[in-house]
């Protein structure tokens, strides 16, 4: 799929991650393909539990196996033609930090509570470079300055519990960029923070992405954030990508009923909250998926054929806009939608 102008840094092809649980096999990621271009930010949106985190964690080789098993291919520019899913532990170790890194959702729990913050950053600095203690310290201080932590010389000696949530996220970002990775996976980096801090962290990420020329996957629930930050967006539903396009097209002319419902469920843009309100009904359990279109049970436009249709991403517009809906031509017509009953459900 060459839907992006820039050469791809990351190519994910038919990625599947199935997790064995007591309740059955969870198909957390089920046939996901996308690319991330050079210096591009790809947004990943979707309801809770649709597989966004598992997608990122699979790319980073962080899924526990067993119980998780992944198939498909993940290729990273500058890492040969190797499928990242086939890498050994020591190969993964070399990949991480230098080629890709990740920032996690909850800065409260993502730092080692019994280790000084400076030591944790120095550990990231020294992961791929033999440095003297002093050089390591200097680099760590530079990084802390770079991510906007005041008085780094002093803060280095503090423990994570002495930092605020926003400052901890800055520490995590400092560690993530320590090896100057080509690709940064940011899994809801601001969800746990309050709104003012969110904006600061997002600006920082954007600034670092530009300065370092990084590519990025940004997972978010927040379509406002996606709109501001991302070049392209992939919408996920029940382990699949249901719509993929550049940000302006996706927000301005969405084709998949799920994307449309997501946008319609947004409160007025002028109101303060930019968060998704839920659409009627709940996503299917990933152990027991319905045949046909997975969104059909909740879709106001669903027809009998939708439940049988062997879904695939169909071309829905220029510039690689694809949607997993065979009625994507009709979805934009207002008269295709039933009277606004989506309010009540």
């Amino acid at each position: 799929m060459t839907d992006s102008a820039a050469p791809a840094v990351l190519e994910v092809e038919d990625l599947r991650t199935y997790i064995a649980t007591d309740a059955g096999v969870v198909r957390a990621v089920d046939g996901v393909s996308f690319t991330v271009g050079e210096r591009e930010i790809l947004g990943l949106v979707g309801e809770s539990g649709c597989g966004k985190s598992v997608t990122c964690r699979t790319i980073a080789g962080l899924m526990p196996s067993p119980p998780a098993r992944s198939t498909g291919s993940v290729r990273l520019a500058g890492y040969g033609e190797r499928n990242l899913l086939d890498l050994s532990t020591s190969e993964l170790q070399r990949l991480r930090g230098e080629h890709l890194s990740m920032v996690f959702q909850d800065p409260m729990s993502a730092l080692n509570p019994v280790m000084r913050v400076g030591a944790q950053i120095e550990e990231a600095v020294a992961a791929h470079e033999k440095l003297s203690g002093r050089a390591r310290r200097t680099r760590a201080i530079e990084l802390m300055e770079r991510v906007g932590i005041p008085v780094p010389e002093r803060r280095m000696r503090d423990y994570p519990h002495q930092f605020s949530g926003g400052m901890r996220q800055r520490v995590l970002i400092a560690m993530a960029i320590a090896g100057r990775p080509k690709l940064l996976l940011a899994d809801e980096p601001t969800t746990a923070l309050d709104v003012l801090i969110q904006d600061q962290i997002l600006s920082l990420l954007l600034e670092l992405q530009r300065d370092f020329g990084m590519s990025m996957i940004l997972v978010s629930h927040d379509l406002g954030v996606i709109g501001e930050m991302c070049d392209r967006v992939a919408v996920m539903y029940a382990g699949e990508i249901v719509e993929l396009s550049d940000t302006a097209t996706l927000l301005g002319g969405p084709r998949h009923p799920y994307t449309i419902s997501l946008l319609r469920s947004l409160p007025d843009v002028t109101s303060q909250s930019r968060y998704l309100r839920s659409i009627g009904g709940a996503p299917p359990a990933l152990v027991d998926l319905p045949g046909g279109c997975r969104f059909a049970p909740r879709c106001p436009l669903a027809l009998d054929r939708c439940r049988e249709w062997d879904t695939e991403l169909l071309e829905a517009g220029a510039g690689g806009h694809t949607a997993r809906c065979w009625r994507h031509e009709e979805t934009r017509r207002e008269d295709a939608w039933p009277e606004p009953s989506y309010e009540s459900a």
Binding site: R57, Q93, S109, L111, P113, V114, A124, A127, M175, A176
Partner: protein, 314 residues
């Protein structure tokens, strides 16, 4: 750092009522004995004159409050009264016996740590594997068996059959002590290490699921570094508390194990003193053992605070 000192200071202050409580309890030990302690001590040699002498010696002819005051007054001067049975002060008797018990407990603690730290780590890493199952079964067995039974098995096998270690006694000189105390310490350590192994395993497993472990992995550092610096280091923190509580608890098992292996320690002294109704010695020994438990608890808190920076701020 002031936070930590403040924490320590608070802990020590909290101990004052505990220590006073212990002295009151120990003092009343003498009065809990039904009937006249003099009658218990003298048995068939009872005469009113002898009883009066004992009353005077134990201070029982004084009002209760005066008795406690005298008891405390002596105590702060390090006197525990004279043994009724031996021609010696209770304090010097205890001082003679204390080192063996302390060495036994420390030895058992070290052996238990040496056994259970690697076992807990391996059991967690090879979860569900043969080793994990083996430690699970081992735990059940050692939990179900009383420690003296283990001691006897060890004596039968290592001392009598293989003749690797002495059957009993304490020996002379430090290395000889270590050799003599190996089987008794192992007896205690085995029971102790099963709890430690299981706790460490559980603690390792829950730590491995924590977010900061992923943060460490994504840095690109080696798996061993992630394991030791992040997982084990955090899992150990919770073990320290369990270790401390159980170490204090071990005082109980030393009483039995010292008897099984004839070690001249406090436990053995206590048993003998109870049998011969040697009240000052019973009081003194109980007091020393209780203080030991308090001290171990305090030390546990200190070590915990040193290992976990969050403690001092709670």
């Amino acid at each position: 750092m002031t936070g930590r000192f403040g924490f320590l200071g608070r802990r020590v202050l909290q101990l004052i009522p505990v220590v006073v409580g212990i002295t009151i309890l120990v003092f009343f030990l003498l009065h809990l004995v039904p009937g006249d302690p003099a009658r218990q001590i003298l048995g068939q040699h009872y005469t009113p004159k002898a009883a009066a002498e004992i009353h005077h010696k134990l201070g029982l002819d004084q009002p209760l409050w005066t008795q406690y005051r005298i008891f405390m007054d002596r105590l702060v001067h390090g006197e525990l009264g004279d043994s009724v049975y031996y021609n010696q002060s209770a304090g010097s008797l205890i001082a003679e016996r204390l080192p063996a018990t302390l060495l036994l407990i420390a030895y058992a603690g070290v052996l238990a740590a040496l056994v259970s730290i690697p076992m807990g780590i391996i059991a967690a890493l090879r979860r569900g594997g043969i080793f994990d199952q083996a430690t699970r079964i081992g735990t059940l067995i050692t939990f179900a068996m009383p420690p003296f039974w283990f001691g006897i098995i060890l004596i039968l096998f290592f001392a009598l059959k293989l003749q690797l270690f002495p059957v009993s006694g304490y020996g002379h000189g430090f290395s000889d002590h270590l050799w003599h105390l190996f089987l008794p310490a192992l007896t205690i350590a085995l029971a102790f290490s099963t709890i430690l192994t299981r706790t460490l395993r559980a603690s390792m497993l829950s730590t491995m699921r924590m977010d900061f472990v992923d943060t460490a992995r994504i840095k690109g550092i080696s798996r061993t570094t992630v394991l030791m610096r992040h997982v084990v280091r955090n899992a150990i923190v919770s073990i320290v508390v369990v270790f401390g509580i159980n170490l204090a608890f071990l005082v109980g098992s030393t009483v039995i194990v010292e008897s099984v292996f004839s070690i001249p320690g406090l436990g053995q002294l206590l048993v003998a003193a109870v049998e011969s109704r040697d009240y000052p010695v019973v009081q003194g020994t109980t007091l020393v053992l209780a203080f030991f438990v308090v001290l171990v608890n305090l030390l546990t808190d200190v070590v915990h605070a040193a290992l976990d920076p969050r403690v001092s701020y709670e």
